[in-house]
């Protein structure tokens, strides 16, 4: 079961959150592949998870 869609704060793509989602759970946005943290429940609020910038090294 999934709740109705949430919107990714980065790319505005729709993100599916399972109904069993807990606070601080990390989900991945399919649009931009950012990691999103569930920062509030009822209603669910998503925020960009802090992350070290990934380097391609070029």
């Amino acid at each position: 079961m999934t709740t109705p869609m949430q919107t990714c704060p980065e790319c505005e793509d729709e993100v599916r959150i399972s109904q069993a989602a807990r606070l601080n759970e990390i989900v991945e946005c399919a649009g931009c592949r950012n990691e999103l943290e569930v920062v509030a429940l009822n209603p669910t609020v998503l925020a960009l998870a802090p992350e070290v910038e990934e380097d391609w090294g070029e």
Binding site: C11, D13, G31, C32, R33, E54
Partner: protein, 341 residues
């Protein structure tokens, strides 16, 4: 089942068409035309088709009536032979450059020769499902665009259609060696072409004209041959219109391609493949499209990648056939591509 013929079947596009059509559940390949190899086995030229077919090449004269003819000859040969094939088949799907432009003067400028069948130019429907799907459903003359043109058009169309960018596009295109066909000369010798970054068209590449036609804005293209056999990638530099921002750009792409079976948005924040890259598309019919917006500078970049023999040619042609016949659009085109490769 329909019966199809492939003209120019001994070439790279011809071979890719054969691979797809032999594997297509609704199609029987009735003829594979080659002037050099009539009577020879098709898999002698296309070794990947060993055990897939016992078909022999035939000459053009041996072709019986059939439902659809695919033209995969060099430029110019299609427009001189077109009447013959129109007389012999219900549909002609042309993959050459001959019927891609609708303006004979532009044709003359870019191809350096007068058009041999100018009265037919207006009858061809451009083989771009994403822009012309409805017309393709009943089209009997279809002209499939050039490989870099497909990439360029798909990468920019959502922005141009919504007036998000200024009317001038600067393309930087890269292509593998199969883009020049199987009949190329010593510039394509392995030791010379291997590891190349060959700027073969610093200005004035022919696909400029096609992109301009479809987008209605001027396009400039610099084209470079890089180390690859298959694969095209285009980078496009455009200036944002006042008011256009990242969110509008994102929305434009998402809306435009939401339901497209063969266009994928690839503009991720992480991973080695965060922007479109041809290598994971080998043999697949996808055109991957991405973008990066520099709001501060008021500029942006779009990126598109495809396999020039697939979405850049034969695959796109089969997609058009599927649409014309009312079959599922992805029929025979389901190979997703490989990784690693």
């Amino acid at each position: 089942m329909i019966r199809v013929a492939v003209v120019g079947a001994a070439g790279y596009i011809g071979g890719e068409l054969l691979r797809l059509l032999i594997g297509h559940p609704e199609v029987e390949v009735a003829a594979a035309v080659s002037s050099r190899f009539p009577g020879k086995r098709v898999d002698g030229v296309h070794p990947n088709l060993r055990s897939a077919t016992d078909l022999l090449f035939c000459s053009a004269d041996e072709v019986d009536e059939c439902d659809t003819v695919f033209l995969a000859t060099p430029h110019r040969a299609a427009m001189t032979q077109i009447h013959r094939w129109i007389g012999q088949a219900k549909q002609v799907i042309d993959l050459t450059g001959d019927f891609r432009l609708d303006d004979t003067e532009v044709y003359q400028r870019y191809y350096g020769t007068a058009h041999a069948a100018p009265h037919l130019l207006g009858d061809f429907v451009p083989g771009i499902p994403e822009l012309h799907r409805e017309s393709l459903r009943s089209a009997d003359l279809i002209s499939v665009p050039g490989c870099m043109a497909v990439a360029g058009v798909l990468a920019l169309y959502p922005l141009v259609a919504r007036d998000l960018v200024e009317p001038m596009a600067q393309f930087d295109a890269r292509t593998g060696s199969s883009g020049s066909g199987a009949t190329a000369g010593e510039a394509n010798l392995h030791a010379t072409r291997s590891g190349a970054m060959r700027v073969f068209a610093p200005t004035g590449h022919r696909h400029e004209a096609e992109i301009s036609r479809h987008l209605g804005i001027p396009a400039r293209m610099t084209a470079t041959g890089v180390e690859a056999v298959r694969g095209v990638q285009t980078i496009c530099h455009v200036t944002l219109r006042p008011g256009a921002d990242r969110s509008a750009v994102r929305g434009a792409f998402r809306e435009q391609y939401r339901d497209e079976p063969f266009v994928r948005l690839v503009a991720h924040q992480r991973g080695a493949f965060r922007y479109p890259e041809p290598k994971i598309l080998l043999g697949s019919n996808f055109c991957d499209v991405g973008y990066a917006v520099d709001e501060a500078a008021g500029r942006m970049v779009t990126i598109a990648a495809l396999d020039n023999l697939m979405k850049g040619g034969a695959g796109n042609a089969v997609q058009c056939l599927n649409i014309r016949m009312g079959w599922p659009e992805a029929l025979g085109l389901s190979f997703p591509g490989l990784h690693p490769v």
